[in-house]
């Protein structure tokens, strides 16, 4: 077949069809049944391989957003610093700008004034982006859940991939959470981006009610607002 030396070009009328036929063949050419192919699986050939490769790259080299909120951020600093050194896992370089970061660790309590800002910072991060919730506050409001001003968890505002419980979680726990995130990313998993209970909306788009009427004089139609319906909070 085609591993044999082919006819001289001058004598050939259909060299291309010959190769092609050989490739399509009745059965697949066993030249292609390499170890590589076994590992990569079947079609579509380039795309999945590249994706997989990219996911692996992504998981192995993550830029964290330098984002401190509350007590948990102190333990987060310890996770970055000597002894725990998150960088050993390829994810320890905090970036000050959200535009350079792809993972956001949410280390603390989120309150009403801060949630719109956090949402904005999240929006500013380039896709694909991932979020790790650090500590009970970011998960559910934690010890402050009953507070009049406290959002019951970051998930009310942004999608979250990994939750690391604790108050605060030990640095080891955060490292574990980050490694888990890397695993998930390498497997191409991430949490779906869905509509969250608290979104930034234009003031003009809100349903009219007592509160909106009252504030109409203070807020422009185009201004973004976040509306908290505390009564519906978990």
């Amino acid at each position: 077949m085609s591993n044999e030396p082919r006819d001289a070009i001058s004598g050939s009328t259909d060299p291309q069809t010959k190769t092609r036929e050989a490739r399509i063949g009745p059965d697949l050419d066993n030249r292609f049944n390499s170890k590589l192919r076994e590992a990569f699986g079947s079609s579509p050939f380039i795309l999945t391989k590249f994706d997989k490769f990219m996911n692996w790259v992504r998981g192995s080299s993550m830029f964290m957003l330098q984002f401190g909120i509350a007590c948990c951020s102190i333990e987060m600093m310890h996770t970055y610093a000597v002894k725990h050194d998150l960088d050993r896992f390829g994810s320890g370089v905090p970036r000050a700008s959200p535009r350079q970061a792809d993972v956001m660790i949410v280390p603390g309590t989120i309150v009403s004034k801060f949630a719109p800002r956090m949402k904005r910072v999240y929006d500013q991060m380039p896709e694909p982006k991932f979020v790790v919730n650090m500590g009970s506050c970011a998960i559910s409001g934690g010890p402050f859940q009953e507070g009049y001003n406290v959002i019951k968890g970051a998930e009310e505002v942004i999608p979250v991939d990994i939750h690391v419980p604790g108050c605060p979680p030990r640095p080891e726990a955060l490292v574990y959470g980050v490694v888990k995130l890397q695993e998930r990313i390498a497997n191409g998993e991430s949490s779906p981006v869905t509509v969250k209970p608290y979104e930034l909306e234009q003031f003009g788009d809100l349903e009219q009610d007592e509160l909106v009427d009252k504030l109409a004089a203070e807020i422009d139609e185009e201004d973004l607002v976040m509306r908290y319906n505390w009564a519906d909070s978990p």
């Binding site: 509350a70 800002r117 910072v121 605060p168 509160l211 807020i219 201004d223």
Partner: protein, 554 residues
């Protein structure tokens, strides 16, 4: 006031003569109250400014430590807790009732700068309206918030709207104006140099700061409400750990322990006091190390050696504290009447570990001095920048290392002794520069002093006879102080005077629980320290103030 020649009114050999003070105020005093820490003078809401001015100028009350506002069934009330930088044990409360329908009360901002922010907070959370206040707007909650959360008729379930607006330049009508000379710059709330979620609305003239308005409240997590919902005995103690969370937990817990023990007349065994003192000073070292590390981070701009060194040393302290309390940061180790458990067994190992740390410390500090203190570039950045002169510091109610770096010799551990401090041998550190450098130096030296204290505590604990190791006194299971007992007590936290006001209402939970946070007052002085400075110096000043937003916002 420091140049006063006359003897302040009301000062006698053995403390304060309240009757003389009442005479000084004449018929402005319409009633007297008794608080556990001091007498309270009731004055009319229209006489506040005059009263406070007299007390400040004639009686030497130069420190407005705290302002508590609260709502009763039949009235609103603002309590000004006055004391003196020269003698912390001389205290006086000025109680100002206000009408329940229309709670207007004269502002004290003209007398004490610090009243400005405190009254804004009282307005925000309780709803008292301060007349003649220079700038009465909300401080912790967003401008558009409905209702005042610590007032009686507040419904937590009502929806709220929070806008996400562009901030306006306070100096220009429109900061997009092509003609304008100033530029508006937002620093924060998410910014690496703000140590958390602080927002500075800065107006620049060239590279100089023309105006800076700290916008706080991005971490206002209702600490006072949480404390008011908890029972005295066990449910409140975990929260103080989360105020100043730079591992200063035990220092904060002590603030609560002190006020609650005062309120309920609880004795603390001496052995427990020594353990408390040791733990608290370990916390102070950890907190100051964080301050040093992040300050260097602000100035040098990268996560490099100094930051890592500071973290390394914090790890050592945290290990010791973890052995002692079981937790790295949120210790919850104090109990009313003592501590929760004794030192870890085997005790020798614990002592050895602590001593090892203390033995290494001088060398470690030498390293810091080589890297930072003696570094010329560092000195160029911090000497003579962010200067806070002592008069301003007093007026803004600054305390702790910030005040001591401005030459104010004020430390509650010595001036209003608690725990075991007065039995031990240590010094209060002061510096006279008032600049960023001095604040840094004060912290470095305080670490040495804390080490001295810890060493003495370890010596004491080592020799403590085994059968006298009482870690807790007998405290009833439920504590119900007499209704309407009021007290205000403070301790020296890592950042300064950390005070708590509690009013009991006859139940096992406090009727009002107000936290006086040192960071809150220290931060309010930022404006006066940075106007006219360059932007990078503003960042350095902020770093040297060492604010922890959890404590600023509570």
């Amino acid at each position: 006031m420091s140049l006063q020649e006359r003897q302040p009114v009301g000062v006698t050999e053995d403390g304060l003569d309240y009757d003389a003070l009442a005479d000084l105020l004449g018929d402005r005093v319409i009633g007297r109250e008794h608080h556990l820490n001091a007498e309270g003078f009731v004055v009319r809401p229209t006489d506040v400014e005059e009263t406070l001015e007299l007390l400040r100028d004639e009686a030497g009350f130069d420190h407005l430590s705290c302002l508590t506002a609260q709502e009763y069934e039949d009235r609103y009330e603002s309590i000004y807790h006055l004391t003196k930088y020269d003698d912390r044990t001389q205290e006086l409360s000025v109680v100002v009732p206000a009408d329940p329908e229309d709670p207007v009360s004269e502002s004290a901002a003209g007398v004490y700068e610090t009243a400005n922010w405190h009254e804004r907070e009282a307005y925000d959370l309780v709803g008292v309206d301060y007349d003649d206040h220079p700038d009465l707007r909300r401080i912790l909650l967003p401008e558009t918030w409905q209702g005042h959360p610590l007032a009686n008729d507040y419904h937590q379930d009502r929806p709220q709207l929070v806008p996400f607006q562009e901030h306006k330049n306070p100096l220009e009508d429109d900061h997009h104006d092509a003609e304008s000379d100033t530029m508006f710059l937002n620093i924060g709330p998410h910014h690496p140099a703000t140590h958390g979620v602080l927002h500075l609305k800065t107006t620049l003239d060239g590279e100089q700061v023309a105006d800076v308005d700290p916008d706080i409240g991005y971490l206002h997590r209702c600490e006072e409400q949480m404390a008011q919902q908890g029972t005295y005995r066990h449910q409140i103690m975990p929260y103080p750990d989360r105020w100043d969370y730079a591992s200063a937990g035990l220092l904060n817990e002590w603030a609560y322990a002190r006020v609650a023990e005062d309120l309920n007349d609880i004795e603390v065994p001496e052995y427990a006091q020594v353990i408390r003192t040791m733990g608290a000073e370990l916390c102070r070292i950890a907190a100051h190390m964080l301050a040093v590390g992040t300050f260097a981070l602000d100035i040098y701009g990268d996560f490099t050696a100094i930051f890592m060194y500071a973290m390394r040393d914090r790890e050592k302290v945290q290990n010791i504290l973890e052995d002692l309390t079981g937790q790295r940061m949120m210790f919850n180790y104090f109990r009313l009447g003592g501590v929760v458990w004794d030192l870890p067994e085997p005790r020798e190992e614990f002592f050895e570990q602590t001593r090892d740390f203390l033995d290494d410390l001088p060398e470690t500090l030498e390293e810091y001095h080589d890297l930072i203190t003696n570094n010329e570039i560092f000195q160029k950045r911090v000497i003579d920048t962010g200067v806070l002169d002592p008069e301003d510091a007093k007026s803004y109610g600054c305390t702790g290392p910030v005040a001591r770096a401005s030459g104010i010799d004020y430390d509650l551990r010595r001036d209003d002794p608690y725990g075991y401090y007065d039995e031990l041998d240590w010094d209060v550190i002061t510096e006279n520069g008032g600049d960023n450098y001095s604040r840094f130096l004060v912290r470095m030296q305080e670490v040495e002093q804390s080490a001295r204290i810890i060493e003495q505590c370890v010596d004491l604990l080592e020799d403590w006879p085994e059968d006298e190791r009482t870690i807790q006194s007998n405290v009833p299971r439920t504590l119900k102080p007499e209704p309407d007992t009021e007290t205000y007590r403070a301790v020296e936290g890592a950042k300064g005077e950390l005070g708590i006001y509690v009013r009991s209402d006859g139940t096992d939970k406090p009727g009002r629980f107000k936290i006086r946070s040192p960071c809150f007052s220290n931060l309010s002085a930022l404006e006066s320290m940075s106007e006219g400075e360059y932007v990078p110096d503003l960042v350095a000043t902020l770093g040297s103030l060492d604010v922890i937003l959890g404590e600023v916002d509570r």
